[in-house]
Amino acid sequence: MLAWIRALASRTRAWLSPRHADQDFENELEIHLEMLTDENARRGMAPEEAKRAARMRLGGLTQLRETNRELQGLPLIETFLQDARYALRMLGKSPGFTAVAVLTLALGIGANTAIFSVVYAVVLKPLPYVNSEQLFNVFEVQPQQGVTGTGWSYLNFRELREQNSVFSEMAGVQKHQLTLTARGEPSIVNTSVVTPELFSLFGQKPLAGRMFFSGDGKPGAPPVVVLGENLWRGSFGADPTIIGSSINLDKRAFTVIGIMPATFRFPFLTKSEQLWIPLVQDPVFGSWMDRRGGHWLQVTGRLKPGVSMTEAQAELDTISARLAKAFPAENDGWAIRMVPLQQMIVEDVKSPLLVLLGAVGLVLLIACANIANLLLTRATSRAREIAVRTTLGAGRARIVRQLLVESAVLGLLGGAIGIGLAYWGVAGLSWLLPPSLPQLSAIRVDNFVLGFALLLSVLASCAFGLAPALFAANSNLQASLREGGGRSGESAGRRRARSFLAAGEIALAMVLLMAAGLLLRSFSRLMSVSPGFNVQHMVKADISLPRFQYSAPQQWAAFSDELLARIQAQPGLEDSAVAVPVPIADGFINLGFDIAGNPPVFAGASRTANYVSVSPDYFRVMGIPLVAGRFFNQHDISSAPRVSVISEAMVRLYFPNGDALGKRLTFGFPPDPGAVREIIGIVGDVRDVALGQDPGPMMYVPFQQAPFWGGGVIVKSTLSPSSVVTAIRQEVRKMDKDLPVTDVQTMPDIMETSLAQPRFRTLLLGVFAAMALVLAATGIFGVISYSVSCRTNEIGIRVALGASSGAILGMVLRETLLLALAGLALGVPSALVASRVVGHMLFGISAKDPLTLAAVAVTLAAVAALAGYIPARRAMRVDPMVALRYE
């Protein structure tokens, strides 16, 4: 083996500098001749005679040189290059074929490469943290209550961090949004509230300045902040003197101590501007640090090298048992689990992306089938050329190799153009990608992706090149030579192969069309589903009060009251309300509750509902109908009895006897989690989580009785959205000039945004299905056209014998439909199996929806018929005289 490698290396060297080696050899031969001549002369030969005899002893010089060159060179590469040159010449001779094949391939490889670059960057690539495989998310679960994964209280986290011996470092994070007032307009900025260990946990060095020390996390430490590079560049003009200076967050001064490079993202995984502050400095979470109950701190740990997940889990079990024993009130029934950080981050986006990759792979497969078909056709018409080459001594292997090289050249050409397309496609994809997609690594065509594209080109070349090459090399020599034109000389095997490929294309296209059809119908249902509230003419804007300035709930209530009164006093803005959270836009708050008089919730079952705090006009402005009882009014203030309005779904679920009105519920947020509220009204259902999710139980409370430090102002107005927002801004500024109005969106836009993920995959899958359809159609067109041209003679005879043009048309169309039917017979079961993969992405439609299946089958049959109709028309017009003379 070693000797063989050495020989190859030496050959390569010689091959790279052939002239030197050749000259060396010439010299050697010359000297050898001289020595032989001398020897002969010594034996007494005449000089001429001696020279002649020496040549005889040495052997034919030309042959020696030839052998030497062969030994020194790399015959495999040389013949490959020779074959490739020849292939390029042959491909150049039929530019139509070459263009179609290369373009088809380029589209297939380009689309695959583009999608792969997304899959690679988002799902496959290791997280861009040092030794990222050691990072795990550690969370608490409460199996009996069905709580599958929540955060920690700070106190529990502290014990976990100090007591465990399996993690080398652990850190806790929470996300928040704070008001940044530094220069110019106040703005809301993504704030990561972290324990000081975060950056050392990730092994991340700052771009400038320093990261947090453990002292920064202690109560009473001066407030410090680390800026993200994007924020530093975007909001501070990349000011190099920023470190040591002071910025205001929620009206409180923080000293900038460092800048993190833009490539470091955690826990915000998107490209947004962000900053980090120690947990202890946060206006909300900072005050929660000394409470053991609560599950809000997201914890990440780095496993020590050599510690297995099982060992770590065993230790976590011990710690959770210890916690439950020491603090049973907060920890009884809770357990600790861990999951690789990568898995946690990509979990949600993985399967839709893999489905897209699979779909685009099918498109390439269809493209390959198409090109294989074209090659089979070509091989038939090249039978004579191949026969001549065989006669001249080319072996079967040599012919197969030549044809495979032709395929490889096609594949590489297609791959090269495809990679170009992929660059362009990735740029296009980047604005199609849903903004919520975690983008820890840049999505681009890097070396790994290029390698993938190259491998794909080679694999594709083999896929479409092998069968045609084998068939071609097997052709009957005598028959091919005799037949001359090679017109009707297609073997039955080859015809079967072509038909099989065309039918296979239809089957594959069917799989894609079915998936795309299901997603499309599901998407249109999503678009037309009623959310249960008004969308048109609605505008939403967020206001959040700095907690250092507005610390008391009474202040929040008063602020909201005054702001709403000011806005409603403006002409055209009478229909306005406040809500926390705004449905769809803000997510949801799920709270447990108890019904007064009913037995408390037993372990293993929990009563929960989504909680919304609203101003009295909310239901009217949103168009949520009253079913029974009454709405809130201006008398439901903090000094009045606590009241609540619930949704129909909540009635169905928890008050099946229809006796909800007048019942009392116990639920709430801090500061009054145990408030008892009487149910005074029942309202219609609302899709508050997502359009694709059925409405769940909801309970509403008056904002005055359950104020919050921030919320959404909702206005229904026929004025333009921009003038509505301007009016809101003016009123807010009159009350507090440093308060930003953020996240301004019209309700239709909010609905649109919430559909970004399904739209993305529906659009892409639709495009792929369309490509598949076009490819399958051209495939059928190719097979039928070729079959017609082979049968010109036969058709001529039929016409001469009196067959009507209708009969000819029928004959060709029958052949087409047979192909299509074979394809559908294969396609229907495949499509039904494959559609299960997209099942979990569907809304309001079954993965086996018969209507979609039928529509897809009919579409395919119709397209196939159309593709067959064009050659059929040509068959109809065959002139019997011309056809018969043709031979």
């Binding site: 050959r11 050697e28 001289e34 020194q72």
Partner: protein
Amino acid sequence: MPGDKSEILQGTLDLMVLKTLEAMGPLHGYGIARRIEQISEEALQINQGTIYASLVRLIQKHWISGAWGTSDNNRKAKFYSITKAGRKQLHTEAQNWERISAVIGRVLRIAERG
């Protein structure tokens, strides 16, 4: 083809070249060819040129090395010498050869007796 001159196999020639270089030390192509002819007592008549294919093969496998030097009568010539790897290879090949020729010899004797 003359009856007393034998055709030689490619691998055999390589083996003979290796052995020659081991026994004689560095030699040029002509020297090696002459030596093989002498040893075989002219029973093997080779086109001396074929020696060069053998030399290229052996060099590529790093079993011998070649360098330009000066011959006895002050001619520039390329001298070949056996390498360490070449000696090892020669040893293995020689053993192989003896084993095989012994087996063939036995088979032939059996055939004769039968």
